[in-house]
C-alpha cells in the first residue's frame, strides 16, 4: 500500500478502472433512490461508500451486479460493460455477475449445505469445475480465512464472523475481478466484526479490487484508497480518505461524520 499521497494518486491514475459506474438512476415508486450516481474504482484499489442510512449506498452497490435493476446508467466491471438503456441479455448478466463477488450483510450462506458445499457448489455449477478441483480450492480458501476445520460444519453451527468469512470464501472461489461488500460487519458485534475486517484488509493488501458499503470509519480511513460519501441518492463527495474524513468539503458530510464520531 502506498504510503504518501502523491504516490497514491499516481497509482490510482495509472491503473485502468476495474469498476466504472456512470449515470446510475433508480426510482422506487415516486421516490428517487439513486440520482445519476457515477463512480470509478481503479483496479487493485479499495473504495469505501459511506453516508447516512437511506442514502442509497446499498442500492448503488446492488446495482453494480444488477441484483437491483437501475432505470438507467452504464455499469462496467472489468471488461464487461452493460448499458441499461440497451437492455440486459442473460449472457451479459451472467458474465457481469461472474466477475463480481458479493458479500451480504446477513451472509446468506445456504443453510442446507455444509460450509464446504457452500463453497464448492457454485464453482461446479457456474465454472464447471470438477468436485475434486472445487474442494481443493475451497480448502485452500478456508485455510486462508482462518477456518481450516470448518468445512464439514453446517453454517448454523458457525459464529456470525465465521459465517461471513465463509461467505467471502464462497465469493472468492469463483475468482472474481472485483469484490462487492454490502455492510459486511453490520450484523456482527464489534469484536467479531474485527475478524472479518482483518480478512478484508488482507484481501485488499493482496491487490483485490473492492467496493465496500460500510459504517466502519476506521476501516474506511485505514484500508480504503477512496471514500465516496452518498446522501439522498447522490454522491456528494469523494476523494482520498484523509481528505474526505478529516477535511470534508460538503456540509452534509461533516454533519454525518460528526454524528458517527459522537456515537
Amino acid at each position: 500500500m502506498p504510503s504518501d499521497d502523491a504516490d497514491l494518486v499516481h497509482t490510482v491514475a495509472a491503473e485502468p478502472a476495474a469498476v466504472r459506474v456512470s449515470g446510475l438512476s433508480k426510482t422506487f415508486g415516486a421516490h428517487q433512490v439513486l440520482k445519476s450516481v457515477s463512480l470509478d474504482v481503479p483496479k487493485g484499489s479499495v473504495t469505501a461508500i459511506i453516508g447516512p442510512s437511506g442514502a442509497g449506498k446499498s442500492t448503488a452497490l446492488r446495482c453494480m451486479n444488477l441484483l437491483e435493476r437501475p432505470d438507467s446508467g452504464v455499469i462496467q466491471i472489468g471488461s464487461h460493460i452493460i448499458d441499461i438503456d440497451h437492455g440486459v441479455s442473460t449472457r451479459n448478466l451472467a458474465a457481469l455477475r461472474r466477475s463480481a463477488g458479493m458479500v451480504f450483510q446477513n451472509f446468506n450462506l445456504f443453510p442446507h449445505m455444509t460450509v464446504l458445499r457452500n463453497i464448492t457448489l457454485p464453482q461446479q455449477r457456474v465454472l464447471g469445475r470438477s468436485r475434486d478441483e472445487a474442494e481443493a480450492i475451497a480448502h485452500q480458501l478456508l485455510a486462508r480465512m482462518g477456518l481450516p476445520d470448518k468445512g464439514s460444519q453446517y453454517p448454523n453451527k458457525c459464529s456470525g464472523g465465521q459465517q461471513q468469512r465463509v461467505a467471502i470464501a464462497r465469493a472468492l472461489a469463483l475468482g472474481p475481478e472485483v469484490m462487492l461488500f454490502d455492510e459486511p460487519t453490520s450484523a456482527l458485534d464489534p469484536e467479531v466484526g474485527a475478524e472479518v475486517l482483518e480478512v478484508m484488509k488482507e484481501l485488499a493488501s493482496e491487490g483485490m479490487t473492492m467496493v465496500v458499503v460500510t459504517h466502519e470509519m476506521g476501516f474506511a480511513a485505514r484500508v480504503s484508497d477512496q471514500v465516496v460519501v452518498m446522501a439522498d441518492g447522490g454522491v456528494i463527495e469523494k476523494g482520498a480518505p484523509q481528505d474526505v474524513l478529516h477535511h470534508p468539503e460538503h456540509e452534509r458530510t461533516a454533519r454525518f461524520l460528526h454524528a458517527v464520531l459522537e456515537r
Binding site: 441484483l67 461472474r98 463480481a100 451480504f104 446468506n108 445456504f110 442446507h112 457456474v126 453446517y154 465469493a171
Partner: protein, 210 residues
C-alpha cells in the same frame, strides 16, 4: 371378517398414494402460477386453487363420477375417486408449497443470483430443498388426512376398506365392532406416518435452523 376388511387395504393405500401423487403433480404448476410475475396467470391459478379446495371432496366425486363423460365413456369409480381426491389435494398442496417457498429467506435468491446460478440451478439446488423441508410436516399431515378421506369413494362403490367394513357390518352380527376394528387399522397406518414426520422434522430443523 378380518380377511374381508383387510382385502380392502391395498385399494385404500392405492387411492391415497395415487391421489397424493396426482395432487403433488398438479400442485407444482399451480404453485409456480401463484407466484408468477404476470397478474393474469396469478389470478387464474388463484381461482383454480380456490375452486379445487372450496368444494367438498364428496361433491367433486359425484360431479366427476356422474357428470363427466366423453361419448359413451364414463370414468370408473376408482378413477373418479382418485381424480376428486387429487384435485382437492392439489389445491391444498399448492398453498402449502407456496407458503414454504415464502419461508425461504429472500437472501437465498439473492445469494444464488449474485453467484451467477441459473434459475434452474437456483430452483433445483437452493429453493426446492429448503422449501421441501419447510413443507414436510404440513405435507405429511395432508397425506394422513387423505388416507382417511379416501373412505368417501366407498359412496360410489369402490371396494376399499370402509366399503368392505360396511358389507361385513350388514352381513355379520358383530355390528359396530367391525368399525372399531377398521378404526384400529387406520390408526396403525397413520400413527407411524405422523411419527416419521415429526422425527424428520426435528432432524431437518437442526440442519436448516437459522
Amino acid at each position: 371378517m378380518i380377511r374381508t376388511i383387510l382385502a380392502g387395504l391395498p385399494l385404500t393405500l392405492l387411492i391415497t398414494a395415487t391421489a397424493m401423487a396426482l395432487g403433488t403433480l398438479l400442485a407444482v404448476p399451480l404453485t409456480l402460477g401463484l407466484r408468477a410475475g404476470a397478474p393474469p396467470v396469478r389470478w387464474v391459478c388463484r381461482v383454480v386453487v380456490d375452486l379445487f379446495r372450496g368444494v367438498p371432496q364428496l361433491v367433486w366425486l359425484f360431479i366427476i363420477y356422474y357428470g363427466v363423460s366423453a361419448g359413451d365413456a364414463r370414468p370408473t369409480a376408482l378413477g373418479a375417486g382418485v381424480a376428486a381426491l387429487g384435485l382437492v389435494a392439489s389445491g391444498y398442496l399448492a398453498e402449502i408449497f407456496r407458503g414454504a417457498l415464502k419461508g425461504v429467506a429472500a437472501g437465498q435468491w439473492e445469494a444464488a443470483a449474485a453467484l451467477g446460478f441459473s434459475p434452474a440451478t437456483t430452483w433445483a439446488r437452493i429453493l426446492t430443498p429448503q422449501a421441501a423441508r419447510v413443507a414436510l410436516p404440513a405435507y405429511t399431515n395432508y397425506a394422513i388426512a387423505l388416507l382417511k378421506d379416501s373412505a368417501i369413494v366407498s359412496t360410489i362403490g369402490v371396494a376399499e376398506m370402509v366399503f368392505r367394513t360396511g358389507q361385513v357390518a350388514r352381513t355379520s352380527d358383530m355390528g359396530v365392532f367391525v368399525y372399531v376394528f377398521t378404526a384400529v387399522i387406520y390408526i396403525a397406518l397413520s400413527a407411524p406416518l405422523g411419527m416419521l414426520s415429526r422425527r424428520s422434522d426435528i432432524k431437518l430443523r437442526e440442519a436448516v435452523a437459522r
